[in-house]
Amino acid sequence: MKGLLLKELIMLKKGSVILIIFFILFGINGLAGNATMFFLFPLFTDLLLYGHINYDEQSKWQQYSIALPYGRKTIVSSKYVAMAVGAVVSTAIVVLSYGVSVAIGKAEFSLKSLVGYVILSLAIGIVYPTFFLPLAYKFNSEKGRTIMLFLNGASGAIAVFLLTAIDGTGIVAKLSNYTNILPYIAIAAVIVLFALSWFISVKIYEKRDL
């Protein structure tokens, strides 16, 4: 799987200029007081990694990678690993940005906020691929693109809802309370859904013609 992950990394590096520009824009906006902008880091990373699937199909890498010493399960798994690593790295950037906000006096440090940032960032980074990866493997790139547009809209709406709620009301407030059991149940549910999504994607990919 190492070669497949390296390929994702190289592709991400090739698109790093856009990634860095957007991260700087989100970061500046976040540090200016709009902390919800930080949560666009994981969402944007997901979008870039999803773009690789379309790119793989267009460049015929999807077919070529089967000729390399990888099974279909490994190929699918590599995308999930890349998405999970992307979620963790972008969460680290969110935490770092929160730290900078605290350091320059734009936010006050609280463990509750930190846990909230980590849970929401991971959730955005993981939940998004959980739903779209099986669809991407099920349909060809044309249909996948249409579904992707719909998912972008839906996930955007969900993100806006969650980001609005981070200020201290509703379920998100409970999710960010680390003394409550809810955040841990939420994390467990996200992991289970992600694993289930991987299982479904593998089954789909093992049956289809490429």
Binding site: G3, L6, Y64, S65, I66, P69
Partner: protein, 277 residues
């Protein structure tokens, strides 16, 4: 041992069926898969490589069921080399090094020099011939024992095609190396193949040693009346002109009094396909 064993392979699409195809490629041999565009060559190769799932049938490589690890011993060139377009030679080497257990970096860079492929340019800037050479270089840089090539010379100029044929000839100097190569450019295959398999409209028309085919079949120039007197099973295909009839026949099934001329694989293929239509 056979490098490839295909038994009763079937794949149905809307409007096309690859029908019950069986063939064996003995180890150390080169087999050319010949057919028109859309005859089923690429479908066969894609099923061999697990890109397409067969509806039924069995495939064995080196006598064993296919597996991911086994692909370390198989070099593949598809009609479109599926390298991400922004990748450079360095990127490609890095990925392959971490993919193939037997990747030989020196061999790869030697091929890059031999093919004069630009080190710093992205794959998307390569010409079709350069892309195909890259595909061949990758296939030959991990000590493969079997090459599976789908239309590697299609769309290339004669000089590059000749160069590729020469490289494949070099590969088969090792007696344990085998090649399955598909093409509709029959003249390329005629130069290098030991075995020829004709596919037409999803069916295998014949699979035979090339030399035996050239020995077995021949041209005759005759008249319509004389042709009618021949055993029908002797006639592979005919072409009428104002002087009479040109026919490809089975040498063993015609009287020795006929004046025969040698046939090429391309002529045999064209006559067979026309007769089948």
């Amino acid at each position: 041992m056979n490098a490839i064993e295909i038994t009763n392979l079937t794949k149905k699409y809307k409007g096309f069926t690859l029908d019950n195809l069986s063939l064996n490629l003995p180890q150390g041999c080169i087999m050319g898969l010949i057919g028109e565009n859309g005859a089923g060559k690429s479908t066969t190769i894609k099923m061999l490589l697990d890109i397409v799932r067969p509806d039924s049938g069995d495939i064995k490589i080196f006598g064993a069921e296919r597996s991911a690890m086994q692909k370390n011993d198989i070099g593949v060139v598809l009609d479109e080399v599926g390298i991400p377009e922004s990748f450079t030679i360095k990127d490609i080497n890095a990925i392959m090094k971490h993919s193939f257990t037997n990747w030989n970096e020196k061999t790869f860079y030697d091929y890059m020099d031999r093919f004069r492929l630009p080190e710093k340019k992205a794959f998307k800037t390569f010409s079709k011939g350069m892309k195909m050479k890259m595909g061949i270089a990758i296939a030959l840089s991990h000590d493969a024992k079997l090459l599976i090539l789908d239309e590697p010379t299609s769309g290339l100029d004669p000089v590059v095609r000749d160069e590729i044929v020469e490289i494949l000839n070099d590969f088969t100097r090792d007696e344990s190396h085998s090649i399955l190569i598909s093409s509709h450019i029959v003249s390329d295959l005629e130069k290098i193949c030991d075995y020829i398999a004709f596919i037409h409209d999803g069916k295998l028309m014949l699979c035979e040693e090339k030399d035996r085919l050239l020995e077995q079949f021949c041209f005759i120039n005759t008249t319509e009346d004389m042709l009618k007197e021949l055993d029908k099973s002797a006639i592979i295909g005919t072409k009428s002109n104002k002087f009479g009839v040109e026919a490809i026949v089975n040498r063993e099934k015609i009287p020795s009094s006929f004046d025969t001329q040698p046939v090429t694989i391309e002529e045999l293929f064209v006559f067979m396909v026309k007769e089948a239509k």
